[in-house]
């Protein structure tokens, strides 16, 4: 239940961040969709690093192409 509340709060906090910037010269319509942020009083590590910020804070959303990243998004072992 607690986890569900967190997920709902997380999803409800969606909002386009006007400071989000496209990267590498990508045109605005190619920019990655802004992910969600945590709304409320952050208490845990993940909540703190993902807490919603006001428009005075620059947030850059980036989706790099990393060929060696595992398909599930995890990292491979170091060589």
């Amino acid at each position: 239940m607690k986890k569900l509340i967190f997920l709902v709060l997380f999803a409800a906090s969606c909002g386009d961040d006007p400071k989000a910037a496209p990267i590498d010269g990508a045109p605005p319509d190619m920019a990655p969709v802004a992910p969600t942020c945590f709304m409320g009083t952050p208490m845990t590590h993940d909540q703190l690093i993902n807490a919603c910020v006001d428009q005075s804070v620059t947030v850059i959303h980036k989706t790099p192409m990393l060929p060696l990243l595992n398909s599930d998004g995890t990292l491979p072992p170091l060589p």
């Binding site: 961040d17 989000a20 910037a21 990267i23 590498d24 010269g25 802004a34 992910p35 969600t36 942020c37 952050p42 208490m43 845990t44 590590h45 993940d46 703190l48 690093i49 993902n50 807490a51 910020v53 005075s56 804070v57 620059t58 947030v59 850059i60 959303h61 980036k62 790099p64 192409m65 990393l66 060929p67 060696l68 990243l69 990292l75 170091l78 060589p79």
Partner: protein, 369 residues
Amino acid sequence: MRIRLSWVGALGVLIAGPRVAGAVNPLCSSLPDPIVVTGSSAVGPFIQEMGKVLAGQTLPVTLIYQSQGSCTGVNAIVANAPITGTATYYDTTGAALTCDLDPAPVGTKVDVGMSDVFVDSCTGQPVPAGVGQFSGPVEAMLFVAPKASQQQAITAEEAFFAFGYGAAGMAKPWTVETNLMRRNALSGTQGILARSIAVPPGRWKGVDKSNSQGVLDAVVGSASAESTVGILGSDFYDAHRDVLKSLAFQAFHQNGAYFADSTATSFDKRNVRDGHYVNFGYLHLISKVDTQGVPSTPASKRFVDWVTGNTDAASGTPAPFMIFDITIKAKLVPGCAMKVQRASEGGVIAPFKPATDCGAQFEAAVASH
């Protein structure tokens, strides 16, 4: 021989005052009321700010600093390792001067080791008995690029492949290993960033540039701005923003990349202070302590008291400066301006409420940059 050199050093001070690098240096031990510190190279501006005030007192104190890397500072105290060679001290204008430490095999005993990382990050062991670890100001560690670079941000995954795999990691545009300007396994800057990108400090690809100045010179002098990335403490970066840019950083499981400051051009360290920028650590002061946990020599106690703000005349040491002001001038973050904390290297971030919140005072002070 040692006696003769001491006389030469003493005469140099008496006749001509402090010597500049390249001339015959005075012995560090001949300088007025010396306090010897060593370790982090990132903390140089902080030492400089303190040193120039201390040098200007009616009864001057000489802050003697050898920049070597955080774990060398830890080792100097934990392993009783004296330092040799030359060290830096400062005159009343903040100009860096050079003095000679006592030669091997005796060397010069260190009063306080300075480290950007916790003791256990260097030794792999808890702080041993008889050694104290005291937390000072907060510093962010940054990925930096030449001013001409078009890059704005780096994700933890990108940094993992760039610094963990080198060219083979295909983390464009950072695929040229000679353009990855790093430090080494003894560096606190590298140690803190290593935790955030899951590449142990001793396994980084790239070129060891020895110290912060070496990284700065290499990044600025690179012929390929786009493929160049380096690592620096935020205080060093803030003093060289005219030739560098910092990259926003996106941690694992984070929803976006954030600068240490709220924007690329501000100095407020807001994202460090509220936890959005995860690459931060404390300046740790390492000294021998007595059974009460108090620094065991007058020199080490004075220095630790000054930096930690224990300046009450009853139990601490009155300071000839406000440590808040020194911290601001050195472009570090006072602990009282933090809203988050962590208890271990790269550990989880948790909310923090200082006894006296100086966040507003901090923001007002840095707004004048």
